[in-house]
């Protein structure tokens, strides 16, 4: 079943065409990779799906619902969680607070509940805290729960960012270069986490430069160059696609053409 469908997405930044009529769709419960050279427009796709940037043209459907004009916070609540290429944590808050923030719902965070918290709210919060600790277990950050996010190592920060996105209980998870700058062990951990998430029924779309990782864990690959889709399909098909090889190896000649 199709969870995400992107139709004819177009985006210009002051004359630069970042996306040019991009269309693709993603099946529920699969791991998908979005690849392409630097500046191909991958992050822009994520920014548009998550609503942070509005496209100049095209549409995005999540589970058949047109979310193109939704405010970004509404998109997040509709079940799309994301991480950023340059990690964005609440670095002055503790690890646990980062997760709690994402877990808490609108009702707990109302002004009224702040001034006059009811017992029901307090109990719900205790449950939330338990759930937060479970999520931290998942990414092996339980021991760090009271550390400030800014004091974590780079790998731990990546993991925390994913855990925080997971706290939204998203059906679709967008990961922007989740392995970038990780030590091999942490990268392996990340790969296993991504696989596990897929087994739990999450759908994943991730951006990655490391081809081995991409070929290893994704079932479906979308290749972008200059804002256009140049190839799409299973890993073994992409590996042998001449256009992809050219985009990756012959970037110079392509740019001149």
């Amino acid at each position: 079943m199709e969870i995400l469908r992107i139709d004819n997405l177009t985006k210009h930044f002051n004359g630069v065409t970042a996306l040019d009529g991009l269309s693709f769709s993603i099946e529920k419960g699969t791991i998908n990779a979005l690849i392409g050279p630097n500046g191909a427009g991958k992050t822009t796709v994520f920014n548009i799906i998550s609503g942070l940037i509005k496209p100049d043209g095209g549409a995005i459907h999540l589970n058949g619902i047109d979310i193109t004009s939704f405010a970004p916070h509404r998109i997040a609540r509709s079940g799309i969680g994301r991480t950023f290429q340059i990690i964005r944590l609440f670095s002055g808050m503790t690890v646990l607070e980062n997760i709690l923030l994402a877990l808490c719902n609108k009702r707990h965070e109302s002004l009224f509940a702040a001034i006059l918290p009811s017992r029901a709210i307090r109990e719900a919060e205790a449950r939330t805290a338990e759930k937060a600790l479970e999520l931290l277990e998942l990414v092996n950050l339980f021991a760090k729960k009271d550390a400030r996010a800014r004091n974590l190592s780079h790998g731990q920060r990546r993991l925390l960012e994913i855990a925080r996105a997971l706290a939204l209980d998203p059906s679709l998870l967008l990961l922007d270069e989740p392995m970038a700058g990780l030590f091999p062990e942490t990268a392996a951990e990340m790969r296993s986490i991504i696989r596990r998430l897929c087994d739990c029924g999450k759908t994943i779309l991730f951006i990655e430069h490391d081809m081995k990782t991409v070929m290893d864990i994704s079932g479906h690959i979308i290749v972008l160059n200059y804002g256009r889709k140049i190839a799409e399909g299973a890993p073994h098909r992409i590996r042998n696609e001449p256009l992809v090889i050219e985009a990756y190896l012959g970037g110079g000649s392509h740019a001149a053409a």
């Binding site: 997040a76 709690l100 702040a114 001034i115």
Partner: protein, 289 residues
């Protein structure tokens, strides 16, 4: 003695102002340079309600705070589009507009003449007009402010505010309606500033626009920054230190024509020194980004 109690009343009012500004600037990270505008609206609304419509000060106070909160919602709107130093400039300009209205809309505010004879609070026929009796009221209100704002910042609501301060984009992708929170923060901040304005009006019993100038906004900001951005207790300590300390000038016999500029020089210098040496304030944990 009476004079000392008077200073304490003023301190309490400034503490409420500084704490309410802290919610906006210190906890949510929205630079606001026009906080006196909200106390101005609170003071005028309260004074007009009781003078023109004969509303009891006890009722005028919450109503006036509500009016200030309503204006706060309007002032919060720019914060949805504008950030950083442009927002600072916008709130500065809005403060000046409110001041100009108080000064020039003479039909309503009596302009520079001000409003005189504002009724005092009364409890069972006993007028709270002495500094001593008023101090009790102000202390209760300040304590209430401290509790309510303290609860707000320590709650999940407050956690969202701190998240906005840390990283607005990330907060949005966590499904938070950041725009709504920003407006709420201005509403709550303006509400308490309105309370402070009303308390001031019914205490002094006379208000004119000169009590709500840019300098007032800056004084509140100095107290908030000095006490510590993102620390409610700090705002109360800040008010105590920065309101009481300049009064010592008067005791060592400096005439008020000299004491007033000296006091403002002191605030200006303090603002510079804080920015250079300790932008988070004495016990704050956040500084401007």
């Amino acid at each position: 003695m009476e004079y000392f109690l008077h200073i304490l009343v003023i301190t309490g009012i400034y503490a409420i102002l500084a704490a309410s500004l802290n919610l906006i600037v210190g906890y949510t990270g929205l630079p606001s340079l026009g906080h006196a505008a909200f106390s101005c609206i609170g003071a005028y609304a309260s004074a007009l309600l009781s003078l023109r419509l004969g509303v009891s000060p006890w009722l005028a106070l919450p109503l006036a705070a509500g009016v200030a909160a309503g204006i706060g919602a309007l002032v919060g709107l720019p914060a949805l589009r504008i950030t950083g130093d442009y927002l600072a400039l916008t709130t500065f300009g809005l403060g000046l507009i409110v001041y100009s209205i108080a000064l020039n809309w003479a039909e309503l505010t009596e302009g520079p003449m001000g409003l005189a004879g504002i009724p005092a609070f009364a409890v069972a026929g006993f007028q709270l007009s002495s500094a001593g009796s008023y101090l009790v009221l102000v202390a209760v209100m300040a304590a209430l402010t401290y509790v309510v704002l303290g609860r707000i910042v320590d709650s999940p609501f407050g956690r969202v505010l701190r998240a906005i301060r840390e990283d607005e984009t990330a907060t949005i992708t966590m499904g938070k309606d950041v725009a709504r929170y920003k407006i709420m923060v201005f509403i709550v901040g303006a509400f308490f500033a309105g309370v402070a304005g009303s308390l001031y009006a019914h205490y002094i019993t006379y208000i004119d626009p000169s009590s709500f100038t840019v300098m007032e906004s800056i004084t509140i900001l100095v107290i908030t920054v000095f006490g510590g951005l993102g620390n409610m207790t700090g705002s109360f300590i800040g008010a105590a230190v920065l309101i009481v300390f300049p009064e010592t000038l008067r005791f060592i016999g400096i005439p008020s024509t000299v004491a007033a500029p000296l006091r403002q020089m002191f605030y200006g210098l303090l603002l510079i020194l804080l920015m250079v040496l300790r932008p988070q304030g004495i016990i704050g944990n956040y500084h401007f980004k």
